[in-house]
Each structure stands twice: as C-alpha cells, then as structure tokens.
C-alpha cells in the first residue's frame, strides 16, 4: 500500500461548557490513500462532522480542544501547525464543501468574486487573469453558460447550482484532498445524483482523494472505496465498502444496514368510506406589481390536483422541493386558502372559515416535518399533548385529560412518566413521537404527515414508519403522506401522486408506479432515488 495522503492518529475532540467537558470524538484513527474515497458514516451526533472539521482546525476553539491525537498530512501535523501555515493548507491542499449550499456562499458577492477570492489568496491570480480559470472551473462543474453566470449572485442560482459553485471553489487550487460534509443532504434526489456523478468524474480526472461524510448508506455503497462507521464518537468498523456491506461485523453496522424502511403498505380497499376528497384543487399566489399592485401573474403552487383518500389508506405525495406537495397538504387541512372542492367526511369544507373549521379540527390532524420546531420549547410534553383536548373536549376534567395524555403517549410507545418533561430533553425520534401523540390524542380520522421522517436518522426513521403503520391499522386512519424520500413512501403508501411544479405528473396505485413508471420524470426520480443514477431527461432541474 502506498503511503497515505492523510493520516489521522488517535484523534480526540472535547467540548467544554462551563465546568463540564464532553468527548465528541474518542480516539479515532483513519488513513486516506491518494485517489481514494473514504466515507465516514454515522448518525447525527456520532462525531463524524467534528472529526472532519478538526482536520482543518475549523472547530470553535477554545470551546473545543484536542486532548490527544495527530493529523499527519504531507509529513506535517496539522493539529500543531501555526495559524499562517495552516491557512496555506486550507483551501489549497485540502478543501471542504459543506452541507447547506444556501448559506455557504456569501449572498452579497458575485460568483466570479467568490471563486476569484480563492485564486487570489493562494495563486495570486486576480482580475482578468483569473477569469479564464474561473470559466474553466464553472464549465468543469457543469454550469451551463458560465459567461452569463459570472455576474450572478447566489440567490439567482438553484440549490444544485450553488453546490456546483461550492465544488468549483473547492477545486480551484487543485486540492489533494476534498472533504465533503454531507454535500447532497440538502438537495433533491435528482440533483443529488447529478452532484455525485460530478464528484466521481472530477475525482477520476484529477486523481484527488476525498473524505465523504454522509448518513446515507446508499450513497456510500455507490460511491466510496472504503468506509468507516462511527457511533458515539468512535469508529466501530472500518474496511472496504464491499466487505462491510456484505459482511458487517459490529452490531451497530448491522443495525444501520438493516434500518432501511421496510414493510408493506396497507392493501387498497375500495369498500372503505372516503375520508378526504379533492377536486381540481388550486392554490395560486398572485404576483403583484406596479403602484396599484395589479395582479400581473400567478404562481401556481398547486394547479388542479384531484385525489381520493379512504379510511385506513395512505396516499403518498412525492416530488422535489418546490413542487407544491406541502402546499397541497396545507390546502387540504385548510391551513391556507385554495380553490376547488375539498370533501372531508361527507362535508364540503372548502368554503369553511377558521371558526367553522374548528369543530372538525379534532378529526383532521397534521404532523409537521421538523420535530425540533414543532413542539413549543416552553411547555411540558403533557401540556403540549393536552392542548388540543382543551380546545375540542372542554368537558373533560383535569384527571380525564391526564389519562387521555397517558393513553396517547402509550400509543406512540413513550413512557407516560415523560409527560412532565420538556421537549429539549428528548431526541429527534422521541419528539416526533410526541408530535404524533399530539395528533393521536384527538382520535383523528385523517392525518396529514408532512415529511415526518426526513429530519430523523435512518434507524429512527424506520421505527417511526413502523409506528405510523401500526397506528393506521389499529385506528383505521387515513394518511396523506408527503415526502421526497421515495423509500419511505414505498413502505407506507398504497396510492401515490407524483407532483412537479404544482401539477400531477403521475398518479395511481403505488405498486404500479414504482414497478412501471409511465412518465419520464417519474423514471428519472425513481432512478435517482433508488440507484442514485442521474438520468439526463430534459427538464430535470439542475
């Protein structure tokens, strides 16, 4: 084996808060050979991002410190390098791309200036001399018409394009090592596939090494040469990708590999009563212009969607971000105004005011995406769950309410004693269970689930999917399941709507759509989601 390019030896990272010290990374060692892609896999909080950030000493010192370890790169220990010497490495020999393309670029600088800055810092290229190189870089990362894009500001680019610009910046000085910290997590599946293909191609051309941090095992399998599995700040297993996936040794790796959402959706049963019905649902946001605020155009967020949802069934709504799937859900739950008939348990609710809706709200519940934002931080879990009861079942005494709360917590598999505690004491998965309990305590008929699993770790995701299916079969619930994650949708939905730019692309029984997609867009979406393959179909967003 050739000498490793980067060698992390016995690295520890500790964070101090007050007198407390917590070890985020615990004696971790790994090597990256030249031209190799090493993947660091683990759930949130496992220390993978902290390990990567300490390679370039990007942690918030002195709150963070390294009690032990060395990071050898080119014979130098990066942990002990002086700040100016380290700056010569950063952005030059080792570069980094981050998860969030929306915030990683300075919103006030043009693309040209942001890429030019790196060239100027490390190669003293500036102005007109740098422009050909910048254009070249933009072309390499697949930005169309780079000449026109030079003067663009980040807000004029889509998420995928911004991530491409970030990659161009990272490549500008032909680094030996690229650290990619969840570079595709914030992107849509089709864009993710394109970005990964781009990174693989660039790696082949330049022969650079890559440290790839992700929680998505599908990406690791497709993309990486070797993998290190991290949990609780330790690397529990390391080895070539094929070996690890074929024959995992450590219990945690096995659990991680088994955590794909599985199970079968409920059977379609046309005899069940219709719970939710929509005909030609439209949500248009007017664009106003001029002094008199005349309506010049409409943003058609949802444009003519028909759907029928029966008790005990799940309708999956899939699509990329901006396709209008959440807007559709909010319109059905009457949280935003819309046009078109909405039928809910035999009533036409589309003309109902907020007051008129209130008596129906107990049977029409919503679970939101972000379990951290959806629970009021200042209320105890019991109060959060009881809030709906106070509105809809005023006759209940305090004891009755309390026992209903306990029942709901029991339903979602949480200990009733937790109801005195506050949301911040719970993990993401537990919080999502609390949010589900809040909906369940009112005994709803219809639940709109707006990406309930996408903020959760893989293993937790599978548990929540099981819980949702279990609740559905016990209470004959109708779910509107909104997600961009096709794996989860496949495990839950018996009907599916594929949305794009507010319109339905394809609609039908989930099995049929997954097995034999009719539309090109659906095919591209499925290929990107299940095979992480970029399909060059006209109109797939860049």
């Amino acid at each position: 084996m050739t000498a490793p390019l980067l060698s992390v030896r016995d690295l520890s990272v500790a964070f101090h808060q007050g007198d407390r010290q917590s070890l985020a990374v615990d004696h971790v060692s790994f090597d990256i050979a030249p031209g190799e892609i090493l993947a660091l896999v683990g759930e949130s909080g496992s220390g993978k991002s902290v390990s990567a950030a300490s390679i370039l000493r990007l942690l918030p010192y002195p709150a963070a410190s390294h009690p032990s370890g060395e990071i050898l790169f080119d014979g130098k220990d990066l942990l002990r390098l002086s700040e100016p010497a380290l700056r010569a490495v950063r952005g030059n020999d080792i570069t980094m791309i981050f998860q969030e393309p929306m915030t990683s670029l300075n919103p006030l600088h043009t693309i040209e200036r942001q890429i030019g800055e790196i060239l100027e810092l490390h190669q003293s290229m500036s102005g007109d001399a740098a422009r050909p190189r910048i254009l070249d870089l933009l072309r390499q990362v697949g930005i169309r018409d780079p000449e026109k894009r030079l003067r663009a500001f980040p807000h004029e680019l889509s998420g995928g394009q911004r991530q491409r610009v970030m990659i161009a910046m990272a490549l500008a000085n032909r680094p030996k090592l690229l650290i990619a910290d969840e570079p595709t997590t914030a992107l849509d599946v089709t864009v993710q596939a394109q970005i990964l293909a781009l990174l693989a191609g660039l790696k082949r051309e330049h022969g650079m090494s890559m440290l790839f941090i992700t929680h998505d095992l599908g990406i690791v399998r497709k993309f990486a040469d070797r993998v290190c599995v991290m949990t609780g700040g330790k690397i529990v297993e390391a080895g070539p990708v094929e070996t690890i996936f074929a024959d995992p040794q450590h219990g945690y790796t096995k659990k991680l590999l088994a955590s794909e959402p599985r199970g079968v959706p409920p059977a379609t049963d046309a005899a069940k009563p219709i719970v939710m019905e929509g005909q030609d649902i439209r949500v248009w946001f007017p664009i106003k212009a001029g002094f008199l605020r005349r309506v010049v155009d409409q943003v058609k967020a949802v444009d003519g969607v028909d759907l029928t949802l029966r008790a005990g069934q799940t309708l999956g709504v899939v699509g990329e971000s901006g396709s209008g799937k959440t807007t559709l859900g909010l319109a059905l739950a009457r949280l935003i105004s819309s046009k078109g008939r909405i039928g809910f348990i035999g009533q036409n609710i589309d003309g109902y005011s907020f007051k008129q809706m209130r008596p129906l709200r107990d049977r029409l519940q919503v679970v939101f995406q972000d379990p951290f934002g959806a629970l009021s931080p200042r209320m105890s879990v019991g109060d959060i769950i009881a809030e709906g009861l106070k509105v809809h079942e005023r006759a209940l005494s305090a004891e009755e309410r309390d026992s209903r709360v306990c029942w709901a917590l029991d339903e979602v598999g949480l200990d009733a004693a937790t109801r005195w505690r506050y949301p911040h004491e719970f993990s993401g998965g537990q919080r999502q269970r609390i949010a589900i309990a809040r909906a369940m305590v009112l005994k709803p008929r219809f639940v709109m689930l707006d990406e309930p699993t996408s903020a959760l770790d893989m293993t937790v995701q599978a548990q929540v999917v099981d819980l949702l299916r279990d609740l559905q079969s016990r209470h004959d619930l109708a779910y509107l399941f909104i997600s961009h994650d096709l794996k989860v949708v496949r495990a839950l939905a018996n009907d599916i709507i594929v949305m794009r730019s507010g319109k339905v692309v394809e609609q039908g029984p989930a099995q049929e759509v997954f097995a034999a997609p009719k539309q090109d867009y659906t095919k591209a979406l499925l290929a990107a989601a299940f095979d992480i393959k970029a399909m060059n179909i006209g109109g797939v967003s860049q």
């Binding site: 739950a333 709200r361 209903r404 809040r438």
Partner: protein, 378 residues
C-alpha cells in the same frame, strides 16, 4: 384507556426556576458590576420608599402625657398639645417644648420634609451644607446661638438648602423616589400597551400591520414637548396627568421589537401545529408567542426606565413637569442653574441623576447579557 399508575399521577416537584432561567440568573450574577448595581439600586430604592421615616418634619414616635403617638402616620391637631392650628408643627418651639416636658419624641435622622422651610437659616437662602460652616456660624439663627439645644445634627441641612430655604437632602430623597416610581409606572404601563400592540401587528400582519405601522409613524412624529405645553395649559400638571400624556408616546418603543418577534415566530412550526389543532388566535399569542417576545421586552425595560426618568427630569427642569413645590430632581437642576453661587444644588442633582442612571444602565446591560443565549462567560 389505561388507568394512571399511582406514582405517575403527580408531577415531580418542579424547581423554582427552569434550567434556562437558572442559567440566566447565573449569567446575571456573573456580571459583577450589574449584580452589585442591582443590589445598590434596590437598597436605595427600598430606603427611599420609607422616605417619611428618614426625612420628615414630624417625629416618628412621641410620648405625650403617657400616650404613645405616631405623628408620622396620624395627623394630630395642635389642640392636643394646647395649640390652635389644624396641623401640628412639631418643629415649632412651642410644640416641641410641650411634648418634651410631658414625654419624649423620636425624630427621623433628618428633621425636614421636602416642603419644610427652615426658619433658622444662618444667612439668606440658599445656605451651604452645615459642614462648610463652623459651629458659631451654623447656629447663628437659633436664639441661644451655638449653645441652643436645637442646634443639633438632625436640624442641620446636610446638603444645604435651596433658594426657598428647604432642605436639599430631604428633597433629593423624595425626588429620587418619585422619579423611580414615575419611571417604573410609565415603563410598566407602556410595556403592557406596547407589547399588546406589537403582538397584534406581528401576529395578524398584512393590512392590520400596515395600518398600525403607518399610524405609529405619524404618532411618533408628534413632538412630545409641544403636546405637553398645550396640555399643561389645559390640565393642572400632576403625577398622573404627566404619566398619562407620556404613556401616549412611550409605548411605541416596544412595538418594533415585539412585532419583529411575533412576525418571526408566527411561522414557527409549533405555532402552525397549534393552529392545526384549532387553538384560537388569542390563546396562541398568549401561550406560544408571548414568551418569545418577553425576552426582548425584558431586555429593553431597564433602558426605557432610565429614559423615562430622564424625560421626567427634563420636563421638571423646563417647568412643565410636576406641580410647583413637589420634590423633583429636575427642579433642583433648574435651581442649580439659577444659583451658580450655590454649587451644592447643581452638584447634588447631578450626582443623584448620574448615580441613578448609571446603576440602571449597568443593571440593564447585565440583564441584556444574561438573556443573550450566545453570550458565554468564563
């Protein structure tokens, strides 16, 4: 429905402060300057609340012919002591001799109230503090000169007298009290109004917000001073009239931050979740949004408080404030300006204002830092 097990039916005993509030308290204490300022200010304020026991022209307790009297709280007519006036002047020789002959009395440390005129001043008012004169001089006006039994420390003017021969120290104590009380009342009332208005604007947004914002812009561009001038000619100025007029204008200070907080927080998912549960608007505002806005409001309070005090003082200085005769720091400053030969007037007012406002600003800074979640202390 499962019955609740016995041990789960009762909530665990809650600590008095939630962890986050305990952290804030720790942060506040960690700011030594602010913490000490807080205690110094509280001691001064609580003392000034009992100003009647510190500086008064009536004894605290007196014993007269075997009867225990409380002249501080009870208005005894002079008849009781053989006089004829409706209100007893305990400082007069006639009454004090009568009481001392038939019992005793305990005086406050300063035997002047804010409106008491010292009739025994050694020279024409304003007179300097007693420690700037020798004993002969300071007792000059008493019948027996330096040997007079009344020429004692309690009858001395510690900080001199003003141009109407009233004791400056007593006026300062009462003036401090009224300033702080006025500031507190104004701050609290305008906080209630401002937070309500900001909450309504931020929560409902849209046209409500637009109309109220324009109204506030027009409203806050009305010059306060001219309004006060006009109203002072229509209404007799007094504590509550001033409070009412100033309140009309100070509440707008709170609207901006509270509105911003509500605008930000009304799209939080837990607010949407509450809306999806069918919870009413007012309940959502009170239960879910107000706690967010309270941090910003609390941070703002000490600065509004010091601002209110300054405004009252400047009005008094201009003669548009409290009615003539009331103890006020602004009036003291005005006197200092008129009587440059008596620097104790201006200096007393200056140091009182400076110390009071500095303490409030130090407290305000410490509160602000304590509520700052990003602030870390060593």
């Amino acid at each position: 429905m499962a019955a609740v097990p016995e041990h789960l039916a009762k909530p665990p005993k809650k600590p008095f402060l939630t962890p986050i509030n305990r952290r804030r308290l720790e942060n506040f204490k960690a700011n030594r300057r602010g913490y000490w300022s807080f205690w110094i200010f509280m001691v001064l304020f609580v003392l000034s609340l009992f100003a009647e026991l510190i500086a008064n022209d009536r004894p605290i307790i007196a014993s007269y012919k075997g009867e225990i009297l409380f002249p501080v709280v009870v208005n005894y007519p002079e008849e009781k002591f053989g006089g004829f006036l409706a209100v007893t002047d305990y400082r007069s020789n006639f009454v004090s001799d009568e009481i001392n002959a038939h019992g005793w009395m305990i005086w406050p440390p300063i035997r002047y109230s804010y409106s008491t005129v010292n009739s025994d001043i050694p020279q024409s008012a304003p007179t300097p503090p007693f420690w700037l004169m020798d004993k002969q001089q300071r007792c000059k006006a008493y019948p027996k000169g330096a040997d007079d039994p009344n020429c004692i420390i309690g009858n001395m003017n510690w900080l001199g007298t003003d141009d109407q021969a009233r004791d400056v120290a007593a006026r300062m104590i009462y003036g401090f009290r009224i300033s702080v009380l006025f500031g507190l009342a104004l701050t609290l009332v305008s906080a209630v109004i401002g937070v309500t208005a900001g909450a309504i604007q931020g929560y409902f947004g849209g046209r409500t917000d637009l109309l109220m914002q324009r109204f506030i812009e027009i409203w806050s561009s009305i010059p306060l001073l001219y309004i006060l001038l006009i109203i002072a000619s229509l209404l007799p100025p007094g504590f509550f009239v001033l409070l009412g007029i100033m309140m009309l204008f100070t509440w707008v200070h709170f609207v901006g931050i509270v509105r911003a907080e509500f605008l930000r927080a009304r799209n939080f998912e837990y607010v949407n979740a509450a809306r999806a549960l069918g919870v009413g608007n007012w309940t959502i505002m009170r239960r879910h949004l107000l706690p967010n806005a309270m941090v910003a409001t609390l941070t703002f309070l000490p600065f509004i408080l010091s601002g209110s005090i300054t405004t009252l003082t400047s009005l008094d200085f201009l003669g548009l404030g409290m009615p003539p005769g009331s103890p006020s720091l602004g009036e003291l400053i005005a006197q200092g300006k008129r009587n440059l030969q008596a620097p104790w007037l201006g200096l007393t007012a200056f140091f009182t204002m400076a110390i009071m406002l500095s303490l409030l600003i130090f407290i305000g800074e410490a509160v602000r830092d304590a509520f700052d979640p990003r602030k870390t202390f060593k």
